[in-house]
């Protein structure tokens, strides 16, 4: 090992990404909790904290660009830096979706929920698990885990379909539920998108480790 400084900087970069990842994971959890509990304060918190996630993305991107400029990375180093700069875009989008869910909490806060939320929290549990495990796969360069996480996306898609069908029934029975039900359908779709971005991250982890492109 003759590139200790560079290795340290790469390690720091990975830690930064993990930090950003756990911020996003928390944002997802808080956003859906605010929706379930109709907790406007919590929703506002998520919306404020989204700025920090955005700042994090810019910081990591700057570091990636600087390392490419100064270190001319190749092979695995190049794949790692290249993929980190892609993964942070996925994470940033996931943060935005959490922001959107929090905004829905505020939009529908004036009336009680048309029904207690059951499937959306279940769907959120799977999505959060995916995010957590995917960050784990990233740090441990664990491609088997990345594949496993990507497969979990099917379950999230099923929930999204199911939630849509259920809320459609509500709307047909009672048109006064339409505005809230539409918002909840959006919330479900945002979660589905979050899971899709997690799947992207899994693909990038596999490329980072093996150099092979996969598509889930």
């Amino acid at each position: 090992m003759v590139r200790n400084n560079f290795d340290q900087e790469l390690e720091d970069l990975k830690q930064d990404l993990l930090k950003m990842g756990s911020m996003v994971e928390e944002a997802i959890y808080k956003a859906v909790t605010s929706l379930k509990e109709q907790d406007v304060e919590l929703a506002k918190e998520v919306m404020t904290e989204d700025d920090q996630i955005d700042e994090c993305e810019i910081e990591i991107e700057k570091k990636c660009i600087r390392l490419i400029a100064l270190q001319q990375p190749v092979a695995r180093d190049l794949r790692t830096i290249g993929m980190i700069s892609k993964i942070i875009t996925d994470l940033e989008r996931m943060g935005d979706y959490s922001f959107n869910i929090a905004k829905i909490t505020i939009t529908i806060a004036d009336k009680p929920l048309i029904k207690p939320l059951i499937d959306i929290p279940k769907m959120t549990e799977i999505t959060r698990e995916m995010v957590k495990e995917c960050l784990d796969a990233f740090v441990n360069l664990d491609i088997e885990k990345a594949e496993k996480v990507a497969k979990m996306d099917e379950k999230v898609d099923e929930f999204d379909d199911q939630i849509l069908r259920e809320l459609l029934t509500y709307m047909m029975e009672d048109p006064s539920t339409i505005s809230q039900a539409t918002c909840l359908i959006f919330a479900s779709r945002y979660l589905e998108r979050i899971a899709d971005h997690t799947t992207n991250i899994c693909e990038r982890i596999i490329y980072m480790v093996t150099g092979e492109r996969v598509s889930f």
Partner: protein
């Protein structure tokens, strides 16, 4: 991996010795025609020795021994009775430090063709002009062809040496760290020139600069302790090398 391009040079089980020291071990390599192949590896890995086996330059060193075959267009250049002068006419070589003759720019380029028997002034003039143009030097020197080659810049001298190599109409160009003595701008010019030349020439370049190998070459071979560890398309070598030792070397974690 190289099936799509024609092979210009095929090296079969090549071994090379300086006395008892084996500098090259069981080299098997195919050099595709009209492409640029870069040889990389740490100092003493055998890449320059290998380059010199391709035009039998090592014949000039005592106590050396070659085993195996180097086929150029299918003919073994180590077969008995081969005309080495003819061989070297087919293979131009450019060295680390620009080494023009202490003669005029014109005479540097005309030297090879003259030595091969061309006397007609008009023909020579044309060869000098064509070679200098091919080496991207013509516009800079066309008004002072009679000036000494020692008075132009290092980068120009190196391009002059390339023009001199091209003047005898070779089809292979060997380059041994051709830009290591040059500044970045002169280096960039030579690199551009190398890329232009591959339309007509098969080029093998030894370089210590991995970035240079990445920038100019189509194929890269990584040498270590006299062996070829990995050989393949340059973008593959630098994006996802197959061998751990290649990875360690190109990412600077070697040794």
């Amino acid at each position: 991996m190289l099936q799509n391009s024609k092979e210009k040079i095929v090296i079969k089980d090549l071994n090379f010795f300086y006395n008892d020291f084996q500098a090259l071990k069981n080299i098997d390599l195919k050099v595709p025609a009209e492409k640029i192949t870069a040889l990389i590896g740490p100092s003493g890995c055998g890449k320059s020795t290998f380059l010199r086996t391709l035009n039998r330059m090592n014949d000039l060193i005592d106590c050396t021994k070659v085993k195996g075959e180097v086929l150029i267009d299918g003919h073994n250049i180590y077969q008995k009775g081969l005309d080495v002068v003819e061989l070297r006419k087919q293979i131009g070589m450019v060295f680390q430090d620009p080494n023009p003759f202490p003669k005029s720019i014109y005479d540097n380029v005309a030297y090879g063709p003259k030595a091969h028997g061309i006397k007609n002034k008009e023909v020579l003039d044309q060869i000098v002009e064509d070679s200098l143009k091919a080496a991207a030097l013509w516009d800079e020197v066309k008004d002072r062809l009679d000036k000494s080659a020692m008075d132009i810049s290092g980068g120009q001298q190196q391009r002059l040496c390339i023009a001199r190599a091209l003047a005898v109409n070779p089809d292979i160009l060997l380059m041994d760290e051709p830009t290591s003595a040059l500044d970045p701008i002169a280096t960039a010019k030579i690199e551009e020139l190398i890329k232009d030349l591959k339309e007509d020439y098969t080029i093998v370049i030894v370089t210590h600069s991995m970035q240079q190998a990445a920038r100019v070459s189509d194929y890269t071979a990584f040498f270590l302790l006299g062996e070829v560890i990995e050989h393949g398309p340059t973008e593959k070598i630098f994006e996802r090398p197959a061998d751990e030792r290649t990875e360690d070397y190109i990412t600077g974690r070697f040794g």
